[in-house]
Amino acid sequence: MKINVSKYTTVGLVALLSLIIFVIPYSASLEYSLRGKFGKGHDFTNYLWIFHQDGFLSHLSLSLELGLLAGLLNLVLMVPTATFLHLSLQRYKPVVDFICILPLMIPVVSLAVGAEYSMPGFLQNSQFELVFFFVILALPFTFRVLDSSLSSIPLKTLVEASRSLGASWPATIVRVIVPAASGGISSAFFLSFALGIGEYTITSLLHWDTFTTWTVDVSQQNVLGSIALSTFSFLFAVILLIVIALVSSNRKKKQKELEEQS
């Protein structure tokens, strides 16, 4: 036990130091963003600035819409795919696994180039072309999440039970599989949604104007405001994820308690 104590101090110290170095820029930007008009004092004016810009609502709702569609499309495409892969088409799993790693292998810029070269005219003229690419970009994360979620439930048994009781395939998926794998499914949805609303590269390279690209443009004029926005989005995302994580760990705890009682 003696060795552990000294390990605690040296490793912990190094970690603490790195943590401080890490926190500095974010806290600096927090301070920066709270600066008042003309650099005097501190207040929240910078946070309010973005809301007053022309086009705030229109661009925000566009991004939200695209993100939502990306999330839904991802589920519609991947939930049945992952399900059937688990049930009876397991030998294709390595292939699908590999395909889902590809978006990580292919730099987004290259994919953007490809999109320019290959997408048919009607699609290139519609902002919904972005939705499809958001889904592709999210594949590595969403497939992994869905896959591990489905692995953790007795999928075959549930499906056999449902089918033997007379349910059709769509009914089985919606009524049995979705509730059972709800954790993974909601994670997959949020991942693609988050990616959709935060994506910049493909959006700007394909000359579309969503919330992210719009904020970059607008920010050229107001550095303080843009920093406030970044800080705000960080905090918001962090708090949201923490809440989700704590809620889901609470749910797991309650389930464990229920099981132990019976």
Partner: protein, 299 residues
């Protein structure tokens, strides 16, 4: 396997004839393959073909020669260097964080820290760039503070719009990403191995040297390669941070399709894009190898 009878095979693939078992198409997977084929394979193959064609639509390798010298070569080298440096920094720092969290944090704290890491890992791009401008831009509080202490960084030629600046900024999403990607590997270290080592007479150092490091090595390398691919290909942050003074491949490709282009260079954009894919793919295949190796041990 009774499930084989109640599963789609019976509903949809029987039309193909059960005698042709070998060629049974996985019809339920068709939507997936079609989607990926159209939105991933098709664009990439188009780029590939375009990279081998010149302006007269004739087959040529001439688009690839600029990649090996001059500014484009320099850009590749710079991008690779940034990838390597930030991957190394991220891997070491992130690995350290991952170890500390795994060893000392309780379950609630761990999930909170995981969430924070997830946000920061995906924060590459515009928010991160802006944050850094805040901390290290000329008007930043930190800079002013240092100035008042007598250390005028900017006078000494410091700029965030530089190789070092980019490396520093990238590390801030590489390290959290490392935490996310590497921590599961740390969790895979079973406590029975440590205890067995103790009961057989080994010390903590023996355990680290002979067991922990060899077992963690593939995952570490794999994670490193993943970070490299990300650092090499990053676009948004670089765009926000540079004013053209640091040559990076993603930015050059972006410029070429953005229309800062003379038309005869569009094919060059294609070859650059393919070059980028080759490098990232190289790294990712190393990542896949590492995953395979480490999952073998986690049976």
């Amino acid at each position: 396997m009774s499930i084989q009878n109640t599963v789609p095979e019976s509903a949809k693939t029987r039309e193909l004839g059960t005698s042709r078992r070998q060629l049974r198409l996985p019809l339920p997977l068709l939507p997936f393959f079609l989607f990926v084929g159209f939105f991933l394979a098709w664009p990439i193959s188009k780029v590939l073909i375009a990279s081998f064609k010149d302006n007269n639509e004739k087959w040529t390798l001439s688009n690839y020669s600029p990649l090996f010298h001059g500014i484009y070569f320099h850009a590749f080298v710079t991008s690779i260097r940034i990838g390597l440096v930030t991957a190394l920094l991220g891997a070491v720092i992130g690995g350290l964080f991952a170890y500390v969290i795994d060893a000392y944090a309780g379950p609630r704290l761990t999930s909170v820290l995981d969430s924070i890491a997830a946000v920061f890992a995906n924060s590459g791009g515009v928010p991160l760039a802006f944050t850094f401008l805040a901390s290290f831009g000329a008007n930043a509080g930190l800079i002013k503070l240092l100035k008042s202490l007598g250390w005028d960084l900017y006078a000494e030629g410091f700029s965030i719009f530089s190789f070092i600046g980019i490396c520093a900024v990238y590390t801030f999403f590489q390290a959290p990403l490392m935490v996310l990607v590497f921590k599961p590997a740390l969790k895979g270290l079973r406590k029975e191995w440590k205890e067995a080592n103790t009961s057989l007479g080994g010390s903590s150092w023996t355990y680290i040297r002979k067991i922990a490091i060899p077992i963690l090595f593939p995952s570490f390398v794999g994670s490193f390669l993943l970070l490299f691919a990300g650092g090499f290909s990053a676009y948004a942050t670089a765009r926000a941070l540079t004013v053209g003074n640091v040559p990076l491949i993603p930015l050059i490709i972006g410029d070429l399709i953005n229309g800062n282009v003379i038309s005869d260079k569009t094919h060059l954009g294609a070859s650059l894009a393919i070059g980028a894919i080759v490098i990232a793919a190289f790294a990712m295949s190393g990542y896949i190898w590492a995953q395979r190796k480490s999952s073998q041990w986690r049976r």
